[in-house]
Symmetry: C2
Subunit: 263 residues, 2 copies
């Protein structure tokens, strides 16, 4: 019997920050007929709240360090404000959304990142996705909406990269579904010219990724996303697409859009 399809859709911070774009995205998301999971990023709200509260944002090598006050802020903003408002909006759109962090029902277990050259603080590296529980939630008609937070087995909430979380969930779901990972953001895909949104590369295989990286032709922020994309492809995810959130409406129509990642 062919497996059912599932879409794991990650929505980036720039869409979260734009109320109109977010509403359009949620309307398009609610119309997807297949099984689906949403993973949302954080956006600027956490930084804005930190500023209001006088909590300094500490960065190292372009990455946010999650000290205790920052962890509380992201738990509030990602797990509370953003997640619950998305859930309420999707419910109004007749999508039976349920907001989750990795802590809830123990669905995504992580471990505090070991300190090497940098101490990232309360950041979690994913150890296990509890696929059976996630499967059960989906089988009873629920649509999981993930905030980028996980917990370790000792009761500690940990800040977790949303792209990585979407990838790990997509890989886990591949056990029982034809799993599709869709990274949605404000650009048309992986651009060959960062200044030109019409320059999306239709398909990137691993060889092309390596040469584009060597040439410095890819935006630095895109590299970890592509690393996650190739990880997903290698670990059994059928389709991985990096695309504009606006293209989500084409998902059920099988129209080609964005950048497809393949081995």
């Amino acid at each position: 019997m062919p497996k059912d399809s599932i879409y794991i859709i990650k929505i980036g911070g720039n869409i979260i920050d734009d109320p109109e774009a977010l509403d359009q995205f949620l309307a398009d998301f609610s119309k997807i007929k297949s099984n689906k999971i949403l993973v949302h990023g954080g956006g600027k709200l956490a930084t804005q709240l930190a500023e209001k509260m006088g909590v300094e944002t500490v960065m190292a090598e372009g990455r946010r360090i999650t000290d205790k006050p920052t962890l509380d802020i992201v738990t509030m903003v990602y797990g509370g404000l953003i997640n619950k408002n998305i859930v309420a909006k999707l419910q109004a759109l007749h999508t039976n959304a349920i907001g989750l962090t990795g802590a809830d029902a123990g669905v995504v277990i992580s471990e505090k990142r070991p300190v090497k050259s940098i101490d990232y603080g309360y950041v979690g590296d994913i150890k296990n996705v509890n696929e059976p529980t996630l499967n059960t939630l989906i089988s009873i008609g629920l649509v999981p909406i993930f905030a980028p937070l996980t917990a370790d087995k000792k009761g500690q909430i940990l800040n977790t990269n949303a792209d990585t979380m979407a990838q790990a969930i997509a890989v886990a779901m591949a056990a029982n579904f034809e799993s599709n990972l869709i990274y949605c953001f404000e650009k048309n895909g992986v651009l060959s010219d960062p200044e030109n949104n019409e320059s999306a590369i239709p398909n990137i295989n691993y060889g092309l990724f390596q040469s584009l990286k060597a040439e410095g032709a890819i935006n630095k922020g895109m590299i970890p996303k592509l690393d996650n994309a190739f990880q997903a492809v290698n670990d059994g995810v059928k389709n991985v697409i990096i695309c504009n959130a606006k293209d989500l409406k084409n998902l059920d129509e099988h129209i080609t859009f964005g950048t497809t990642i393949s081995n």
Copy 2:
């Protein structure tokens, strides 16, 4: 066939604010063998965050008015910070907790309170508890942990009284369970002398409640809680107890504690 028991336990803000008391409570909660649901209050964290952010807390007749900035704060603090930390801690205690607001899976639907003499702002009056969905979550082994937030059918998150939410959930669960509502807080029960924690009244029926109220013998803050308690008793909840959080460990032992409410 006798119905299974379920405990709907509400934990008040003063316990939430005291890390040691909260940890003890969660340890005791995790040991309850029957089906169970936790509803937590908010505590001082929301007020503290509002102060840090320069958001004024507006009160009317002793009740917090939920304007838009306050709604965002309670969504962050109740739905994010408090809820997710409780869930992570319970998971570490081997309780398969799942954090919920009324918005999640559409389990508690409310309506914005109509403006009469006071405009309470973004406050929700509960219209419906989706008992079948809640039942399904429990039947797959999950322990729902509710933040005192609900949503209307139009996608609006609404601040909701935790005592009322616990009562409405207990009443809904009475359809399929022997439902028990336990209000836990920092005192030993309904006190006849507010200054003496040893003065808990063992049993209050509706007649006694009315005469205590007429005499002014009951702490004013206790009256809405008792109104909720009698509502629960009238609507099919088998046992309603108002007690010290420390007494939760006696629940499975059938030891008498706190104040029992009966018609």
